[in-house]
Symmetry: C2
């Protein structure tokens, strides 16, 4: 039933679109000003390259999802979509990991390198970043499921039945 | 010519194995002791979770590559290999990005968060980490090419010829 498979894929892509858009919005709106030792400083997502990469990757994936959902797919285009889905999975997973690595230093610090945690000073900023990363994990997981679903459809159900 | 495709895949996997083993060895051997303000400190890869994740991911990919290269593949196993290749691409790309994000803070610091660069104090440690990350980029890129090669073989050459 190709129609049912297409509906499954469209629902997964719609959910992934929601997750990646949420990741972008929550990360972009993360800023907080704090005063430490009479010094005023503002924590913003664009002070950190990893968070900027995270925003760009999730924005690219959102745009791509929207195009795939809105434009009708004929003949060969689903094959190109499969290749682009691989690229999106890699892009989302790598941006999520980079953001998570920096967020972890922000939360716990790294005493060996002398990097102090900053979440005590800017807790709302850290909550925003945490929320964005959770959305990013959801988005990249949904894209991974979508990719495995597509590969499963290409190879047929034999992959998981373990019969030749 | 299925034999030629298998040789291509085996060569790509062998190169990826070399890259991931090199990434593990170079990262694991990265340690340096420095004295700053009469305080002695040692920079090691296992002081940072992202670098430990990088080592584990590359070690898992190396073991997996070795098993696939040494064990003969019959009937359905190449389909399971395709699914596991997707997992390896995601694992390698995400661990490489996490390590790169932390290495960038180590090299340039983050003035907004008050995190100072450490590569001035431990240059040899940073060179090792840099080398390991370059090997990691090579390994994850080779696995991505291997995955696209496998998908190309499954779908047939029609993907890239753009003819229905």
């Amino acid at each position: 039933m190709p129609d049912l498979k297409m509906i499954h894929a469209a629902v997964l892509r719609l959910l992934a679109l929601g997750a990646t858009v949420a990741a972008v919005v929550v990360m972009v709106t993360s800023h907080e000003t704090a005063t430490v030792l009479n010094m005023k400083f503002t924590a913003k997502y664009n002070n950190t390259e990893a968070f900027m990469y995270f925003v760009v990757a999730n924005a690219v994936a959102s745009g791509y999802s929207l195009i795939v959902l809105l434009l009708p797919c004929k003949s060969l285009c689903w094959r190109i979509i499969l290749i682009l889905d691989v690229v999106m999975v890699v892009l989302l997973a790598s941006s999520m990991s980079a953001a998570l690595a920096i967020a972890q230093v922000g939360k716990k610090g790294n005493s060996h390198a002398g990097w102090l945690p900053i979440c005590g000073q800017v807790p709302r900023f850290c909550d925003h970043v945490g929320g964005a990363i959770i959305s990013g994990i959801a988005g990249s997981s949904l894209y991974l499921v979508l990719l495995l679903h597509s590969i499963y459809n290409v190879l047929g159900s034999a992959i998981f039945s373990l019969k030749p």
